[in-house]
Amino acid sequence: MEVTEITNWAVDLIRVHKRYGKIHALRGVNVQVRAGEIFGLLGPNGAGKTTLVKIMMTVVRPDEAHGTVLGRRLGHPKKLARVGYLPENHRFPPYLTGLQVLDYFAALAKVPRRVRRQRAPELLDRMGMADWGNTRVSKYSKGMLQRLGMAQALMNDPDLLVLDEPTDGLDPIGRRDVRLLLQELRSRGKTVFLNSHLLSELEMVCDRVAILVGGYIARQGTLSELTEHTVEYHVVAEGDLADLDAQIAELQARRDRSCVIVTGHDTRRVNEVIDLLRRNGRMIESVRPHRFSLEDVLMEVIGGGEGEPVPIARRLDAPR
């Protein structure tokens, strides 16, 4: 059964399943990426991020998968000409030089020879490796290989760039360079699909994020969408508030020493808590809204509750 339709999604993955023998690596994943955004797939090691990307890139065959990549049926080799891919832990044939690597892989991507000749040195230069083009990759450091891998993924001037842990092995400066590069690509209308187990990487550049845990997408949305429904207010008063516990509980708030925590955006309840404290003659030191960081969301998803995380079973509606 084909569930394929023309959509505005750059990537539209529907009900992706993959088993490796007994391991059920993906259990019905739905991921939608808008054209022109930087999308982050976040999840702990072993969550299935690499597997999902490999299915997108036809490296791994799914047990079940529907949807499209750049408007073509998933797994269609033609469209891959418009996609750039940097796999996790990639390595290049050690007997090739940097320029030869770029030329070889771009030739396989059907980039015309003249374009390859021109673009390869340009990209090396862009990656700050202009002097290394004629050195064999066996002499490259981890960081240089990573940058060469990025250049390789950009050789066909892709509309969609798929990066699996792109900052792996990079020092802080290298990480910043990657970030700047991704932002530059976005400003040129490219779509970026980024895998990472490092939250801070994604938080800084991504427009939208999906959290993958145990083969399910547990959350998906813009950063503010993911964090907004989990606002807390912290009302800090002087002294111990233990004697007020019963009344605090009545207001559906909880207490952490001298801080009363109200979950949700309900400012009326916050005021009720303040009233309660004032009525009892307590000094209020501060009232602070506390927005959950993505990390809090991630922790909640990964660690929250026993058993399996709640999957997002439904695919998102098409944009616009």
């Binding site: 891919y85 990639h90 044939p93 396989l108």
Partner: protein
């Protein structure tokens, strides 16, 4: 363009692994040792003229001279050198073709390129063949030139050895590809290919023995089994036979004939006619065709596995 890129990569890899140069050096060495001997109007010399014998039998004017050279090229070099040493070297040189293609971290990039996996697999297969084709061409060309300049015989039919060698190599390369895809290890695929080679050779050798020394009737099942195995498996042994036939070489025994008397000469001609008759019964098309069919099955199997697997 993609196919060309794959072929080019096969060469770069082979050149990097020095085997390309080792094989070239071996070819050069053989050509050099051939060039050390020479024939002219008066007789022959060895060690670049250091020693020489003058005799009309050895001179280029001798009626058997051309035949003798053809035998050295078409029988000794083709069968013993190319057919065994050459094929062995070619298998060693190409054993890494598929394992290195399927190197973890590299294959992910390659299979995500806009080409079908079958294209990729066959392109790489072709890459291995082209490598061997180039090596064989170089070898045949330089030994042809040596035979022409030093031995004064320009044996054009000698060039048949190039396609024959590539065909013979391909009979075994399908196994290298299959085992390479299955094991992802150059060493394992090398070892297993040699095992396959032995298993292909054994029934043919047995068949030859059974022809020479027909066994008692109770061994008929063995005979039938051997015959069946020979007819299904690639006929590696036939290639040297074809080489002898196409280059006009004779078995060495025939060369012991000397041009002293007319009767002996007639005997020689008669012998040669019999050999020709025997080889006329033999069908090159059937031999090579059925072998290629077997090869195609193995290639399909290897390619199917390559196309189905996850990386």
């Amino acid at each position: 363009m993609q196919t060309w890129a794959l072929i080019k990569d096969s060469f770069r890899e082979a050149i990097d692994r020095k085997l390309f140069w080792v094989m070239l050096a071996i070819s050069a060495l053989i050509a050099l040792s051939m060039a050390a001997s020479g024939f002219d109007d008066r007789g022959m010399s060895i060690l670049f003229g250091y020693m020489r014998w003058n005799s009309p039998d050895l001179a280029v004017t001798s009626p058997i001279h051309k035949q003798a050279v053809a035998t050295i090229l078409g029988h000794f070099i083709a069968d013993h050198f190319l057919g065994w040493v050459g094929i062995g070297l070619a298998i060693i040189a190409t054993a890494g073709t598929f394992p290195s293609l399927m190197e973890r971290g590299t294959i992910e990039v390659i299979v995500s390129k806009p080409m079908r996996r079958w294209h990729l697999f066959l392109g790489k297969y072709l890459g291995g063949m082209v490598f061997v084709l180039v090596q064989a061409s170089i070898f045949v060309l330089i030994t042809f030139l040596v035979a022409g300049t030093r031995w004064k015989v320009w044996l054009w039919s000698y060039f048949w050895l190039i396609p024959l060698f590539v065909v013979l190599f391909s009979y075994l390369f399908c196994f290298t590809a299959l085992f390479g895809v299955l094991t992802r290890s150059p060493l394992a695929s090398l070892a297993l290919t040699f095992v396959a080679w032995f298993l292909i050779w054994a029934p043919q050798a047995t068949y030859g023995l059974l022809q020479a020394f027909p066994p008692r009737p109770e061994f008929n099942p063995v005979v039938r089994f051997t015959e069946a195995a020979c007819s299904i498996l690639p006929k590696t042994g036939d290639i040297s036979f074809v080489a002898i036939k196409l280059t006009g070489a004779r078995l060495p025994g025939d060369l012991l004939w000397r041009s002293d008397s007319q009767t002996e000469h007639d005997e020689f001609v008669e012998n040669a006619r019999q050999v020709d008759e025997e080889s006329a019964e033999f069908s090159i098309t059937r031999s090579i065709g059925s072998s290629l069919a077997f090869e195609a099955v193995i290639v399909l199997l290897a390619g199917w596995r390559f196309c189905r697997r996850d990386f």
